[in-house]
């Protein structure tokens, strides 16, 4: 059982300008530790001309007090995708990894569809200036659908371990109509891919979900994040029902947890995360989009709360793990 000290909602949308046209949301916070400060990237939203929203990347920097941000980016950290590309309609989320002097950003690119809302594929962007700006490694994705992972390949999280790059990500199993839903809803699961260089990836087991579902076959699992603490790897993710999840708190996102010693076999044990919904406040009806990171000797968990992170993101610090 993990014990966490909740530090509250450390970033609130609206406290600082995020640049012209930004209307709401600070979703899927992702950390890049930079010595005595941490830069937290997130996806915020701009309204496009057709009234829909485009996710775009910003960041905020904090010191260890996690009081008001030291600095907030108002610029386009990565330019929008070109016409017809996989990330034309936004990036959400974007995961950072230091590789030599460069910073690799693994992006979840969004592209709108006709018969269903959207599709996703995973891209790679690289920064040569310490993470202020990112350039795409190419206009296309580095990981997309395959024979048994037909759609919605996104939510990358990359870790280097045992001389390899490991990616945990999600894939869609399909879209379904549900009673009470006005639009088709997607179902997705967590999977694992490997790479020698961080660019060319192979799926470990095409179409194989690595985390068992607790809400039935239609459980949606998203945004895996993995950190080694001692001899054990810890994975936090979020999960929900496939339908009626947006406004019904009983069916919305919760944080899930699994542990492993070999990065391949995972034991799911959500209760062992020890971070339930708060009784009131910013994460009282939903917890989602977790991100684990270590900073010196401390371990932190970033995540979003109610309304999928419409108003900001929060933080908890690990106090200890009881075996």
């Amino acid at each position: 059982m993990m014990r966490w000290q909740p530090l509250g909602q450390i970033f609130r949308v609206g406290d600082q300008s995020l640049g012209e046209g930004i209307v709401s949301h600070a979703q899927s916070p992702q950390a890049l530790v930079m010595g005595d400060r941490v830069r937290i990237y997130f996806s915020t939203r701009r309204q496009s001309t057709d009234g829909k929203f485009l996710s775009t990347i910003r960041y905020a920097e904090f010191d260890k007090t996690f009081a008001a941000p030291l600095q907030v980016a108002t610029h386009e950290v990565i330019a929008p995708g070109a016409l017809g590309t996989f990330d034309e309609h936004g990036i959400f989320p974007m995961n950072m990894l230091r590789v030599g002097d460069e910073i690799y950003a693994y992006t979840s690119g969004w592209s709108r569809r006709k018969s269903v809302d959207v599709d996703m594929q995973i891209g790679l962007a690289i920064s040569h200036d310490g993470g202020v700006h990112f350039e795409r490694a190419g206009p296309g994705p580095i990981l997309g659908p395959s024979l048994h992972e037909p759609c919605m390949v996104g939510d990358p999280f990359v870790l280097q371990a045992h001389a390899q790059f490991h990616m945990w990500y999600i894939f869609g199993t399909g879209w379904q109509h549900y009673d009470g839903s006005t639009q088709p809803e997607r179902i997705y699961k967590i999977a694992h891919a490997l790479s020698d260089d961080g660019i060319n990836w192979r799926k470990l087991n095409d179409g194989q979900a690595i985390i068992p579902s607790v809400l039935g076959d239609d459980e949606c699992q998203a945004l895996p994040t993995v950190l080694r603490i001692g001899a054990r790897y810890h994975m936090v993710f979020c999960y929900r029902y496939a339908s009626d999840f947006r406004t019904n708190p009983a069916r919305g996102y919760r944080l899930g947890y699994a542990h492993s010693t070999d990065l391949v076999h995972w034991t799911r044990d959500d209760a062992a995360l020890g971070l339930p919904l708060s009784t009131d406040g910013w994460d009282s009806s939903m917890q989602c989009y977790p991100h684990l990171f270590a900073w010196d000797t401390d371990v932190y968990l970033l995540y979003n709360g109610n309304h999928f992170g419409r108003d900001g993101f929060g933080l908890a610090r690990l106090e200890g793990i009881d075996e």
């Binding site: 709108r112 569809r113 006709k114 190419g138 659908p145 024979l147 879209w175 379904q176």
Partner: protein, 324 residues
């Protein structure tokens, strides 16, 4: 020096001449592709029902059987599409076109372009694979997703597959989109011929470069790289066009080109050798497109499309001379 010419045999598959076509086969017989069976040559093609209320088409695969001894005589037809369209949100929800088939032992494999529809551009395409265990009548997809999707430098519209197997190596010659752009209010696409190889037909390694130099400039669109190994060399016939104003301007639309290789990796383009061009009048007077070349009983044939990319059906031509 002209080494060969294609002698045209006419519109051997004339859609309008077929009575009582089913609802899924209103018009078009596109991207013909043959397998040779005992007594017949089975030619797969792609056809369409009528457009929907928004003017949008879907595309199905089917086949027609010709008498092996007389390639103008039809002796059979598919009674239903060879495979269904994909489900909601899948890569092939709105079409399976083009289709390339290959016999491998007792099985027949079909590689196909699966069509989805985008919000900002009209379509996107990835390549799927299906397998037939009944000699090529019905095909079962090997999975709900694509076998060759998009990649870092092949960002969209990966389509026009041509499947081949030489020795133990499988080859896909295909088209990859390089650029969408708006022209007169319409999204237009540029695509180039590319190739990938595989030990099993499922796990593919992309060559990662354009197979051919551009003849019409960077916006030339190239499709249907159909390869025949003959006389110790690989002969590729393909089609190419301008990226804009190609729908109604006959001098900007598809023509058939030719390139030669000895290793499937490096190609010498020389369209002057193609040996086939538009006719002065008739069904192939505006364009010639989507060639498929195959050997049969000592002769070499080409199936190809004419005006409006095969709306009327497909034609046949026979090689005169020697592919060297």
């Amino acid at each position: 020096m002209v080494q060969w010419q294609w002698e045209k045999r006419g519109l051997v598959f004339d859609v309008q001449a077929l009575p009582n076509r089913p609802e899924w086969f209103d018009a078009f017989a596109q991207a013909p592709n043959a397998i040779v069976l005992n007594d017949r040559v089975r030619v797969y093609f792609c056809c369409r029902p009528k457009a929907d209320a928004h003017g949008m088409f879907v595309s199905y695969g089917a086949y027609v059987d010709f008498d092996r001894r007389d390639l103008t005589r039809i002796i059979g037809m598919a009674e239903q599409p060879i495979m269904p369209l994909g489900g909601l949100g899948m890569f092939d929800e709105f079409g399976t076109y083009p289709i390339s088939t290959i016999k491998d032992g007792d099985d027949v494999y079909a590689y196909f372009g699966g069509w989805t529809r985008g919000a900002s551009v009209p379509f996107n395409v990835s390549i799927g694979v299906a397998k037939s265990r009944d000699g090529g009548v019905q095909f079962e997809k090997l999975g709900p997703g694509p076998v060759l999707g998009h990649a870092l430098d092949e960002p969209f519209v990966v389509t026009s597959p041509k499947i081949r197997k030489y020795g133990d190596t499988w080859w896909l010659i295909y088209t990859a989109g390089t650029r969408w752009f708006m022209h007169e209010g319409r999204a237009e696409i540029v695509y180039k011929l590319r190739a990938a190889h595989s030990p099993d037909g499922l796990n593919w390694t992309r060559l990662g470069y354009n197979l051919l130099p551009d003849k019409l400039g960077p916006d030339e669109a190239q499709a249907c790289g159909d390869v025949l190994f003959h006389n110790g060399a690989y002969h590729m016939f393909y089609c190419y066009r301008e990226a804009t104003n190609f729908r109604h301007a006959k001098d900007r639309t598809y023509r058939i080109g030719y390139a030669r290789s000895t290793d499937m990796l490096h190609w010498e383009r020389d369209d002057s050798k193609a040996g086939i061009d538009i006719s002065p009048e008739g069904w192939d007077s505006d364009m010639v497109a989507y060639p498929h070349v195959f050997a049969l009983d000592g002769e070499i044939y080409m199936l190809y499309l004419g005006n409006e990319v095969g709306r009327a059906g497909f034609g046949l031509a026979q090689l005169k001379g020697s592919l060297a």
